[in-house]
């Protein structure tokens, strides 16, 4: 029963290929739009120019912390084209001291 599944999908794929063939013949080459990796950047600026940034890491949860001359920072907001900021990370209170 389970084995039948890939066969079914293969038949359907073949059927749909055959149907499209006619249109494609008029072009010598057609680029098939397969996914590719697009890079982009989300920037986080320091709000205070006197700050030195030392190290940044992201843990398994995606929590990012930046060690700076003013203690731990974390990124706040930010999206592609809309830079966020690095703000003091006070989530664990004892870390400040």
């Amino acid at each position: 029963m389970k084995k039948w599944l890939p066969a079914g999908i293969a038949i359907m794929a073949l059927a749909s290929c055959l149907q499209n063939k006619a249109d494609q013949n008029q072009h010598e080459q057609v680029y098939t739009d397969v996914p590719y990796v697009q890079d982009y950047s989300i920037k986080y600026n320091i709000a205070d120019s006197g700050l030195s940034l030392y190290k940044a890491y992201a843990d398994r949860n995606g929590v990012i912390q930046v060690l700076s001359s003013k203690g731990l920072l974390h990124p706040f907001y930010g999206a592609m084209l809309y830079p966020g900021t690095l703000a003091p990370d006070d989530t664990y209170r004892p870390m400040k001291d």
């Binding site: 079914g8 359907m12 995606g62 974390h74 907001y77 703000a87 989530t91 004892p94």
Partner: protein, 744 residues
């Protein structure tokens, strides 16, 4: 042929997936099909002196706001991260125009200044001159004709020709155009007029007091007019009022009305609301939804978006098509990124006005309890999906729970919480230095903690196929329960004294009058705990103790006592019992339902199991008005057919994505039916949806109408949402997303 094949394929996969199901065929399952989830993106004005007039979005999604400081547009902004409204300088000449009106015409932005009606659309070709330098109100008709007004005069113009003009005896507030009947409607405080461009007839249509706003609705059949006290439906052809004025609204002083995709939306000084098909309203108020409750205008923002302009900024109310599983993914990120404190499931507190860049994670009296509920969710998730992330989440939170036992020197006694030395937030007197000088631990552990611990250790031991986790969980159950048994059914603190709430001894439990809830809850919980301990350790002592309590001390009778008998202690009762029973205890509900896992699943025998089921269903019956998602799902563990699955799904869908503790006020709403004060604290006939109430955990009263603290905290979805969802998935009363099932 192809269709037939596809159909067979789908059918086979469906049958195949059904045959894999393990759970009772008697229970219905909710198929997780996509639904519309609403959320808000707010844009605040940065300068408090700016007055916002109107906002529109064109066919490209370009949003402009006309303000006392010219045109503004939204900048940045996302859900939970408000953007701002900044000057829109994209078209440089606009700065120097005295723009008094903005409107949408053929889905393009059109402006009215002291000289003309004009636009930057249509290649800039629209520039229709007029003769009313003070014009501020306008609407477009057919073929670029516009009816404009400065409040006291009206002009109808086309291609810079004034075709008709007239004085108005009353101030013109607004103009609308019905393209079906080719007629304009003009709103004044006391009347609505119609203007027909064909025969230039300006005719009174409808008379009323205090008209504020209006819109054409129902494909031109009706005019909806908002007043200072309710709204009126008017037949747009005859000018006759349809029915009584409608005043059963969240707020009756109306400032705006519009129809979007067949739904009426209203604005008021107390938020916005949309009339649903069932005659009730979706209420959008508080900073969860709006920069301010003072709504000035509501307008279609394009596909799946409504714009609400307030005096403090703009809100985009977005409707996203998603499944419950999508929501679980969203909430998983929320918990993992902002709510894990040393492995505990914590609240982010001390935030400034909901700013997620601020705040810190608090220690809680109930770190063990809240974490047990989140950890339970992750265990159910792992049982269903075998996700390695879920398993790791389980390990990390189990580490935190386990350390509650090792951070303090008392054998088998869990701390409430721990924190690095000197940083306790709450109840300084309850904190004790740990043997490790880096740490303090919180004493006085309560029965809430104990039942949470036993619930989740049992779930882990039963459902997570990881030997280390199983062993550790069983060891923790044994450790805690051995402590309780060794200490005569008390939880005994570092000072050798029982904690205030950790008391399951008959001497304490049966000292409460029969109708006082504590007698029932403590009996129910301790039997569940002893059964669980026996189930996993097979140590006779736990079974013996449980039967001793049931047979000799009436604990079975106590736990079976119908909920309708629970109430205030009689007049001759002791003060403690009176204090305990002055109102319904919603924390007890939480303890009961967590306890039902062990009470029902690990029942010593089938006779008891049937009895427990009866007690659970009896409890569920009394909870039904609250539509509490978790209690409905927990009830499903008994295999009962009826457990309000629909209401559980409603709870899960209606819970807001924004879990910040914004201040909400519902008690003065005019669309709710208040009931007489009562023991259960039920305030209204029907409970309001979670996205209109304060964010509250499962120990809250869902009938609390007001609450929140100005966005100073963000709750974790771990216990509130993920527990009922993943438990529902585990019990197979909620399916995997419909599209995923097909491919599994």
């Amino acid at each position: 042929m192809r269709k037939q094949l596809l159909f067979t394929l789908i059918l086979s996969i469906f049958l195949f997936s059904c045959s894999e199901k393990k759970v009772p065929d008697a229970q219905t399952t909710y198929t997780d099909i996509p639904y519309r989830q609403d959320y808000s993106i707010k844009y605040n004005v940065t300068d408090s002196g700016t007055v916002l007039h109107k906002a529109y979005a064109d066919r490209n999604g370009v949003i402009q706001i006309l303000s006392s400081k010219g045109l503004l547009h939204p900048f940045s902004g996302a859900m939970l991260y408000p953007g701002t409204l900044v000057p829109d300088d994209t078209y440089r000449p606009m700065k120097d125009k005295k723009i008094a009106g903005i409107r949408l015409y053929q889905n393009q932005l059109v402006y009215l200044d002291d000289k003309a009606v004009f636009s930057n659309a249509w290649a800039g070709s629209l520039y229709s001159r007029h003769g009313l330098p003070g014009a501020a109100v306008f609407a477009g008709g057919d073929d670029f004709a516009f009816l404009i007004s400065d409040g006291s005069s009206l002009q109808y113009l086309q291609h810079s020709q004034v075709i008709w003009e007239s004085k108005s005896s009353e101030q013109v507030l607004d103009i609308a155009y019905d393209s079906m009947k080719s007629v304009f409607f003009v709103l004044t405080p006391g009347q609505i007029f119609s203007f027909s461009p064909a025969d230039k007839q300006y005719t009174p249509l409808f008379k009323a007091d205090s008209l504020i706003c209006f819109t054409i609705a129902s494909e031109g059949k009706d005019i909806i007019a908002g007043t200072h006290n309710g709204y009126i439906i008017i037949d747009a052809s005859t000018g006759k009022q349809k029915g009584e004025i409608n005043r059963k609204l969240p707020w009756t002083a109306l400032t705006a009305v519009t129809e979007i995709e067949g739904k009426l939306w209203f604005g008021s000084p107390r938020g916005a609301f949309m009339l649903k098909d069932d005659g009730k309203f979706n209420y959008y108020a508080s900073k969860r939804w709006l920069p301010s409750d003072n709504v000035k205008q509501i307008v279609n923002g394009g596909k799946d978006m409504v714009l609400i302009l307030t005096d403090a900024g703009l809100a985009k109310i977005c409707f996203k098509t998603m499944t419950l599983e999508d929501k679980a993914v969203f909430f998983d990120k929320q918990v993992r990124k902002r709510h894990i404190r040393n492995g505990f499931n914590a609240t982010l507190v001390g935030m400034k006005d909901g700013n997620l860049g601020t705040g810190h994670m608090e220690d809680s009296d109930n770190d063990g309890l809240w974490t047990s509920m989140y950890l339970g969710a992750e265990a159910f998730r792992y049982a269903v999906t075998k996700s390695p992330e879920a398993l790791q989440n389980c390990r990390e939170s189990l580490d935190a729970m386990e350390r509650l036992y090792s951070v303090n020197p008392v054998k088998g006694f869990p701390a409430r919480s721990y924190e690095r030395r000197g940083y306790k937030l709450h109840d300084p007197e309850k904190w004790i230095p740990a043997p490790d000088p880096e740490w303090d631990w919180k004493s006085t552990t309560s029965s809430d903690e104990a039942i949470g611990h036993i619930f989740v250790f049992a779930v882990l031991a039963e459902l997570v196929d990881d030997e280390a986790i199983k062993e550790r969980s069983v060891a923790l159950i044994d450790s805690l329960m051995q402590h309780v048994v060794d200490n005569d059914l008390y939880l005994v603190d570092w000072d050798g004294k029982p904690t205030l709430w950790g008391k399951w001894n008959p001497e304490y439990v049966n000292a409460r009058p029969k109708n006082v809830g504590d007698r029932k809850i403590n009996s129910s919980n301790i039997i569940a705990m002893l059964q669980t301990a026996y189930h996993f350790t097979k140590k006779e002592i736990y079974k013996e103790k449980a039967f001793e309590l049931m047979d000799k001390h009436g604990y079975l009778e106590n736990l079976m006592r119908p909920m309708k008998e629970i109430g205030p202690a009689p007049a001759d009762a002791d003060d403690w019992s009176k204090m305990l029973s002055h109102e319904w205890n919603h924390s007890d509900d939480e303890m009961y339902f967590l306890g039902y896992w062990g009470l029902y699943r690990y029942a010593f025998n089938d006779t008891l199991k049937e009895k427990y089921k009866e007690a659970i269903i009896d409890h569920w019956e009394i909870e039904r008005p609250e539509k509490e998602g978790a209690w409905n799902i927990f009830t499903a563990l008994t295999g009962t057919k009826e457990f309000d699955l629909e209401e559980a799904v409603w709870y899960l869908q209606e819970y807001p994505l924004d879990m910040i503790g914004w201040t909400v006020r519902n008690s003065e709403r005019k669309d709710i039916e208040l009931v007489e004060p009562n023991f259960r604290g039920q305030t209204t006939k029907e409970v309001l949806p979670p996205d209109e109430l304060d964010i509250s955990r499962h120990n809250g009263n869902r009938f609390d109408l007001n609450g929140g603290r100005n966005g100073n905290s963000e709750y974790s979805a771990g216990d509130i949402w993920l527990l009922p969802y993943w438990m529902g998935r585990y019990l197979e009363v909620i399916s995997a997303p419909a599209n995923k099932q097909m491919h599994r």
